[in-house]
Symmetry: C2
Subunit: 265 residues, 2 copies
């Protein structure tokens, strides 16, 4: 497939392609203009606590859809899709341990599974770029730097843990615009949780992220922090559930929702 063809492919066409198992790269940049989503699949017995955790912590865990018990079709965000096959790569965790990274989870599927699709920052990064604002880790072709903060999330039942944030450096002259633009997208982490001093979040050294890769912060740039979807995965894993399935990092679910359709205003 040529690159010029790829730019025309719809979300449904991409999901069809992933379904064949014939795709081994991350989904960033695919089906531009359409929202991509984090996936967390867990058993019904944990679903109430996790749903409540997301309700209490909407910035790190913005819910796009929760499927019915045992249902693998995400009827709200991609009618007709199959969550068992339509992502390029998954991660299987047993008792909190990564045990497999398949491209198809039909053999793992259980009737008591509930799937959570959570918003992903690709959407607001696209909006920032469309407004002419550089997103440093994209420019540097790196994974976004992520940090475990000293802020505890609101706990819910057995689910608890610290807030994880991502960081993007922003020139002071663009701070207002960056707050305005990302505020429009509460369904994908929304406005920043903090602007400026990393130590206010308990972050000692920006050059040493807990996950992802560090990026350059230039003179005159202010570090800006957003709640990160990794928060929810860390919280679930801490419970060491019998069986949890997620997308593999960077290999997201491509929805039929347009990025702009997610704007709150």
């Amino acid at each position: 497939m040529k690159v010029e063809d790829a730019s025309l492919m719809t979300p449904a066409a991409w999901r069809e392609r992933f379904r064949t198992g014939n795709w081994h790269r991350p989904t960033a940049g695919l089906a531009l203009g359409y929202a991509q989503a984090n996936l967390v699949i867990l058993q019904r017995e944990l679903a109430y606590d996790f749903l409540l955790f997301c309700q209490r912590n909407p910035k790190p865990c913005p819910i796009l859809e929760v499927t019915d018990i045992g249902c693998f079709e995400p009827k709200v965000v991609a009618r007709g899709a199959d969550l068992r096959t339509d992502l390029p790569k998954y991660r299987i965790f047993r008792n909190g341990q990564l045990v497999d990274e398949p491209s198809d989870i039909r053999s793992y599927w259980q009737d008591d599974f509930v799937s959570f699709l959570l918003g992903c920052s690709f959407t607001f990064e696209g909006a920032l770029q469309a407004a002419g604002i550089e997103v440093r880790h994209i420019t540097q072709n790196r994974n976004v730097p992520m940090y475990i903060t000293n802020r505890e999330c609101q706990k819910a039942g057995v689910m608890q843990g610290p807030l994880v944030v991502s960081m993007r450096p922003v020139p002071a002259s663009n701070l207002v615009k960056v707050v305005q633009i990302t505020s429009r997208f509460p369904a994908v982490h929304g406005a920043p949780v903090h602007i400026g001093d990393p130590q206010a979040l308990g972050i000692v050294d920006l050059a040493l992220p807990d996950m992802g890769e560090s990026v350059d912060v230039k003179a005159g740039e202010i570090p800006v922090f957003w709640a990160c979807g990794c928060t929810s995965q860390a919280v679930v894993m801490a419970v060491k559930p019998e069986l949890v399935i997620t997308h593999a990092p960077g290999f997201m679910f491509i929805t039929d929702l347009s990025d702009q359709g997610l704007a709150a205003f």
Copy 2:
């Protein structure tokens, strides 16, 4: 107590007063500037379906807080308050039938209760009035007219039913402002769900609301419809749960949240 004293009373002072059982009027107009909330208390076995219903239908069912199982303190919206005593009047439903309207529910409390506090339109009505926009049912000293529509909510487990809306007539010249103002308050039903022709919602006669009271619609005014919190109560009652407790209509829970603090932008 004189009226001028009442206007200075804090939410906590009002809750303290209700706790004595010595208050028999609705809460509209009390503690102006602070958000009031709908209350639905149900058993844990129904809480997942109801929470999911609210997640899937955020316009009629905007969640301000879900308490921990068995906990009667709403830690997010009013730390230190007691949901068993701090509303002036409750309704007790057994198997879907209203059986009591007490001012204190301590004798009904169960360890498996989960309390849902949902946003109330008082907040956006205050914002409309602050912007100089008349709210007709307040001017006419009536209950807001409510209508059962032909739109089905997204079902969740056993919870399903039609969307219920409230209606406020707005002069055409104010429509834009009314959309802008209420869009700022997604936590209290947010933007309208429909502007104009009632028949598009299956409403045959505005003069015959299903609940509440009709209001005058003057020449040049357009009916504007918002999702209504009554939706959730109707949906819960349809299941005829063994035991459900709600606030009595108009006798809301007064939170410590400022109305303006609920604005999304």
